[in-house]
């Protein structure tokens, strides 16, 4: 299939390109940028005037709920929703049911994703068997089965010795560990940021030190073992500072932030809105500013959706009795670009956090539009305003804290391996 | 139309005489007087003095016995009821300013009976106006008035006491 995308503004942070040029694809790959090659007759031409054309987005952390929780969502439904949001590669944490601690589960997910034919789904393998924090998982086999890294999915590992062994073992297979910094004891049974708002609401709060102590432990062990490490969903200003310090010392670490932490704080929970019941919790204004600054400076190099779709019942209960997590695929791009509008980030930095940087973290060939690379492309209208309404969401999970928000930027076309897998039609406009 | 204090004083004297006559005729001894807040209490204070009753005046707030809770909710509160005596087997003189539909008196009777079982209740009102909706009558009346639709009579006080006729538009 030959395809040309004409008239758009190409922004590819990986190559530094930001220019109005045409893009041509063939045989599932990027062919060339610029003038149409001699003899190239496209089967389809996409009119991308007034659009931005960027590499398909790479989402570091999205839960697809399959296998095990198909009542919430499935690989088919969520990879389709991701495609509608311009996300062409998703990475799924290992806390499925059964857990991704055997190659069979990894293969199952890859197969289902291939069948759906939408976004590419990568997986992380479990760090411990059953994510129980006590016995190492067969990381060698998991790596061979295609897991891009190892994670304990946020389930606590109490034994420091165990964390050390897991890192040393992963390092020997060249696997990256994806860490969720949290002290196992300070983080138990806690539901909101420990501070003025949680005190008012009478909710047991998760203190800042739960993250920073966990981060301190993990950073020192990373340094000690030499494993390549990525820190997931930092949520504190102090945590960002600690990470910056580690980078300055030359440690090979990266970190991401959840998109919703860049726009919401503890104040958004004053009504006991269960869509704001998240982990890590929404913290203070200063923490939010610190996360934004961390992105701007490059301490945090990626923005993730941390997509956790839920069925309605999971959120229809008093706050702390609800399940944690927000549906985040559809807001990933607009929330990231909102920072550009707010002059926090440049466009290239924002898109890098969604394309080239997460690709490098996962170690995959994606997140760029260089010739020869897989034809994963996102075309979006940067000026389109729309309101997030539950009925119109593509994901099965409508549990977003941004319901009713007016957002800017809407995906018009998504290509995966050179095929148009999503195209916005008039009837979808609200 | 307005009735000034002088005329009201005259009406009150007439009521006092009427009450004395009723008590003698029916042989009711040591009566207890109860005024319905707020206007009825003003009138009752005057009558209580005239009859020179020993037991202090009782004051009734009928807000919890009204029949219009579903329509207008809880009324803004006036002072709570205060009956500083036992009601059982006593003769009650119930006093109000204006008798109109009869609903206030029904509520007052229900409330008094929740305090105990009186031997009798006699009703004295300053103004008995047309518009009864319940079978209630006064035993002693200061002045009878036939009013049309949209006309209301209101007692203002406590000092000076004045009756004013209002025409609603």
């Amino acid at each position: 299939m030959r395809l040309s995308i004409q008239g758009g503004r190409i922004v590819d942070p990986a190559t530094g390109l930001d220019q109005a040029v045409d893009l041509h694809l063939a045989d599932g790959r990027i062919l060339t940028l610029g003038a149409r090659p001699d003899g190239f007759v496209p089967d389809r031409v996409i009119d991308a005037r007034n659009r931005i054309v960027c590499p398909g987005l790479v989402d570091l952390r999205a839960r697809l709920r399959e296998p095990g929780q198909e009542h919430k969502a499935t690989i088919a439904s969520e990879s389709r929703a991701a495609a509608a949001a311009g996300i062409t590669t998703l990475c799924c944490p290992p806390d499925t049911d059964p857990v991704i601690d055997t190659p069979a589960v990894a293969e199952l997910i890859h197969q289902r994703a291939a069948q759906a034919g939408m976004s590419r789904v990568e997986v992380l393998g479990a760090m411990t068997q059953g994510l129980d924090g006590r016995r190492l998982a067969e990381m060698g086999a998991l790596g061979k089965a295609g897991c891009l890294g190892i994670s304990n999915a946020g389930r606590p590992i109490e034994s420091t010795e165990m964390v050390r062994y897991a890192m040393e073992y992963a390092a020997s297979f060249g696997l990256t560990v994806f860490l969720h910094p949290q002290d196992p004891w300070l983080g138990r049974e806690r539901h909101a940021h420990e501070g003025a708002v949680a005190t008012r609401l009478g909710i047991a709060g998760l203190p800042e030190v739960a993250e920073t102590i966990g981060l301190a432990r993990d950073l020192l062990l990373v340094e000690h073992t030499g494993v390549r490490a990525h820190f997931c969903h930092l949520s504190t200003l102090r945590g960002v500072e600690m990470l910056a310090e580690a980078l300055q010392r030359g440690l090979s670490v990266t970190a991401d932030v959840n998109a919703h932490h860049l726009h919401l704080t503890e104040m958004d929970t004053v009504d006991f809105d269960s869509n704001c019941h998240l982990r890590p919790p929404l913290r203070t204004q200063q923490d939010m500013q610190g996360l934004r600054a961390g992105l701007a400076r490059g301490t945090l190099s990626a923005i993730a959706s941390d997509h956790q779709p839920h069925e309605p019942d999971a959120k229809l209960n008093p706050f702390t009795d609800t399940e944690v997590g927000a549906s985040g695929l559809e807001t990933l791009l607009p929330l990231s670009l909102r920072l550009v509008d707010a002059d926090v980030l440049g466009l290239s930095t924002a898109l890098a956090a969604l394309t080239v940087n997460p690709s490098r973290i996962l170690g995959i060939e994606a997140g760029t539009l260089a010739p020869g690379v897989r034809g994963d492309v996102c075309v979006f209208d940067p000026e389109a305003y729309w309101t997030l309404a539950p009925e119109a969401m593509a994901s099965r999970g409508h549990n977003s804290p941004f319901l009713g928000w007016e957002l800017k930027a809407r995906v018009t076309h998504t290509l995966i391996e050179g095929r148009v897998v999503y195209e916005r039609t008039e009837s979808e406009d609200l | 139309m307005t009735l000034e204090t002088a005329e009201i004083t005259g009406l009150l004297e007439g009521m006092g005489a009427g009450l004395r006559e009723l008590l003698a005729r029916k042989g009711r001894e040591a009566p207890l007087m109860v005024g319905i807040r707020t206007g009825g209490v003003w009138v009752a204070k005057r009558l209580h003095g005239q009859l020179d009753l020993e037991t202090p005046l009782g004051e009734l707030n009928i807000n919890f016995y009204r029949d219009d809770f579903t329509r207008i909710g809880l009324h803004p509160q006036v002072q709570p009821s205060n009956l500083p005596f036992q009601v059982d087997a006593r003769h009650i003189l119930l006093v109000d300013d204006v008798l109109h539909t009869g609903r206030t008196i029904r509520a007052a009777l229900n409330e008094i009976f929740d305090y105990g079982r009186p031997a009798s209740v006699a009703l004295a009102v300053l103004v008995d106006r047309s518009g009864r909706e319940l079978p209630i009558q006064a035993d002693v009346v200061g002045k009878r008035l036939d009013l049309g639709p949209g006309e209301h009579i209101k007692l203002t006080g406590p000092e000076p006491l004045m009756l004013q006729l209002q025409r609603a538009t």
């Binding site: 420990e194 501070g195 003025a196 949680a198 005190t199 008012r200 609401l201 009478g202 909710i203 047991a204 709060g205 203190p207 004053v270 009504d271 006991f272 019942d313 229809l316 209960n317 008093p318 706050f319 702390t320 009795d321 | 707030n61 807000n63 919890f64 016995y65 009204r66 029949d67 219009d68 809770f69 579903t70 329509r71 207008i72 909710g73 809880l74 509160q77 709570p80 009821s81 205060n82 204006v98 109109h100 539909t101 609903r103 206030t104 229900n110 409330e111 009976f113 929740d114 305090y115 105990g116 518009g131 909706e133």
Partner: protein, 326 residues
């Protein structure tokens, strides 16, 4: 704040009673004044008024309670309402119906009011948000968040003893961290204009950033009680020792228990309050609990009048139209 609007209807009348937070001084005083009218009812031969006749009130208790439940029961009965008490044990809910389903089933039986006690903060708000338009929700205690009727009866007790809030020093002593009563009392006192509200507790029993509620923090009981007009003692639960927050009851009583000697630094006419039930010898000595300064039993009496006032105001807010004639 949206929760204040959740409690009030478009006319600013109290429709649900969920938390003191967000209610203004005028409304709080109105509730206290309304309660005054109901006090006398309990002292009569017939302890009933027909105000809520024909209304159905459901006590929905997800946490066990004797005292609060019985006062709500008495309050409803003295208003001539029909009352249903449902005690839902924790295990039943984990296996069975969701909170939402329980509520919907009761609504289908045409109930007018839910009085809810639940172990989770925000439970009453959740119910109020999902309840049918003609139904009112009264919070009888949700997790650590609020116990507004307790706070109102405490304010009622204080007003009866002291008259005016604007010159009072009030100290709340004990496990503030876990106390919904303390949170509601603090909001009520600050709203009613008490110039100084103190919390006295060891660090492990104080919530994070508690000063933002408008209180002064003391760790020393004697310093905290100096010159106060009102002392409110909170109950200390056994679990606090087990979960590592305190070493022993013995040490707690030694440093934070209210004894006659300790009380001497307060004003000579100080009143001592306790929401109950008492742990004698743990947070309070018997001779204080039963002594001249104690108004603990009055709190219990006033609790009924206060709940009658809250129920009447909330159900009265659904009134439909024009007034009646006299």
């Amino acid at each position: 704040m949206r929760s204040a609007n959740l409690q009030l209807d478009e006319n600013g009348r109290l429709r649900h009673f969920l938390t003191i937070e967000g209610l203004d001084q005028a409304l709080l005083l109105h509730i206290l004044d309304t309660a005054e009218s109901f006090v006398g009812v309990g002292e009569r031969a017939v302890k009933k008024v027909p105000l809520l006749r024909g209304k159905t009130i459901v006590n929905l208790f997800f946490e066990p309670s004797t005292r609060t439940r019985t006062t709500f029961e008495l309050a409803a009965k003295r208003l001539s309402a029909d009352l249903l008490t449902i005690n839902v044990s924790a295990s039943a809910t984990s296996k069975g119906e969701s909170l939402l389903d329980t509520m919907r089933n009761l609504e289908a039986m045409h109930c007018d009011m839910f009085v809810v006690r639940h172990a989770t903060s925000g439970a009453a708000h959740f119910m109020a948000r999902h309840v049918a338009p003609h139904v009112s929700v009264v919070n009888a205690g949700d997790g650590r968040h609020a116990h507004p009727t307790q706070a109102v009866l405490d304010m009622f007790t204080i007003r009866r003893a002291k008259g005016d809030f604007t010159s009072l020093r009030v100290a709340i002593v004990g496990d503030i961290l876990h106390s919904r009563v303390a949170r509601s009392q603090i909001h009520a006192l600050t709203t009613l204009g008490a110039p100084e509200v103190r919390v006295i507790a060891p660090g492990t029993l104080l919530p994070s950033k508690v000063e933002t509620l408008g209180v002064h923090v003391y760790h020393d009981l004697e310093r905290g009680l100096k010159d106060v007009d009102v002392v409110i003692m909170l109950r200390l639960q056994r679990e606090r020792m087990q979960s590592g927050l305190l070493p022993s009851e013995h040490e707690y009583f030694h440093f934070y228990g209210l004894t006659k000697e300790r009380l001497r630094v307060a004003r000579p006419d100080v009143i001592v309050m306790h929401p109950g039930p008492l742990n004698r010898g743990v947070e309070i000595d018997s001779d204080v609990a039963d002594g001249a300064h104690s108004v603990i039993l009055q709190q219990v009496t006033y609790g009924i009048a206060v709940r009658m006032a809250v129920m009447s105001l909330a159900l009265g807010s659904h009134a439909s139209g024009e007034g009646g004639e006299a």
